[in-house]
């Protein structure tokens, strides 16, 4: 365990940024980046997994959906910004891709989902389940962002 002095440092307001290509092989790098920060500010193992998973799902969506349109001139990138506060972690994940309408996504009916053996369609639902606050800001081709917050338990 870190000593108290360094915990004190890490609990201050800090900001971390990561920018990398939207390739699935980079999911591992993104998860390690976010989990390292989450661990440092005191989330437990289960919570770290939840944060990693929510971030992974958002990034996998960028990789699978954001840059489908091959005519798009933009570099295929993922931006991850993490801010730590005394009581929480805030993660923003953004792309410059085609965008989508988050309002139009239905909450999956898990019973029906399992009965019909669907694949996919779980990512956004998982993010909302795992994190305390989730918001989308969509500007196709400019910046499509999901912001997710998780609070440290007292």
């Amino acid at each position: 365990m870190s000593d108290k002095k360094t915990n004190a440092v890490s609990k201050k307001n800090n900001s971390f940024r990561l920018k990398l290509p939207a390739n699935s092989e980079n999911l591992d790098i993104i998860r390690k980046f976010v989990s390292g920060i989450a661990e440092n500010i005191g989330f437990n193992e289960e919570e770290v997994y939840q944060i990693e998973l929510a971030v992974d799902e958002a990034c996998a969506n960028i990789i699978n959906h954001a840059y489908k349109n091959d005519n798009m001139p933009t570099e295929k990138i993922i931006h991850v910004t993490v801010r730590t506060r005394k009581d929480r972690i805030e993660v923003k994940i953004a792309d410059k891709g085609v965008g989508f309408d988050p309002e139009s996504l239905e909450t999956p009916d898990m019973d029906r989902y399992l009965r019909e053996r669907k694949q996919g369609g779980l990512g956004v639902h998982l993010i909302k389940t795992l994190m305390d606050e989730v918001k989308f800001h969509i500007k196709p081709g400019v910046r499509n962002e999901v912001k997710m917050v998780k609070y440290l338990q007292k």
């Binding site: 092989e25 591992d28 998860r31 289960e46 998973l53």
Partner: protein
């Protein structure tokens, strides 16, 4: 990155897939290939030993969903075994225990097939 591996072990008509590492959108195709191969060989009695699995995302969960129907139509099953508590919580969150059988030990899952 060498962060996922599937090792197959055949025991009579039962096949055990031992999975290790991180099962995400990048590595799900490797797992998919292992299951596709079993089905091509008409092997439908499948135990997936998750003992070495450290992480699963929805892309990994989707692979299980993609095969279960065909497997059961052929009087087989995909039974899961030795999943860690941490990883089980993700399966549980999405209601998988109502669709798949989970066993503490791979050997128990194998016995279920032979009964």
């Amino acid at each position: 990155m060498a962060n996922f591996e599937v090792v197959r072990e055949d025991k009579g008509e039962i096949s055990v897939l031992n999975v290790h590492g991180y099962l995400d959108a990048h590595t799900a195709p490797d797992f998919e290939n292992a299951l596709t191969k079993l089905l091509q060989e008409n092997r439908f009695k499948i135990v997936v030993n998750l003992n070495g699995l450290q992480y699963i995302s929805s892309a990994g969960l989707g692979v299980f969903m993609g095969f279960i129907e065909e497997v059961r139509e052929n009087s087989g099953d995909i039974k899961l075994a030795e999943v860690s508590q941490k990883v089980f919580k993700v399966f549980d969150l999405l209601g998988f225990p109502s669709l798949y059988e989970f066993y503490e030990k791979a050997s128990e899952a194998i016995v279920k097939f032979t009964n």
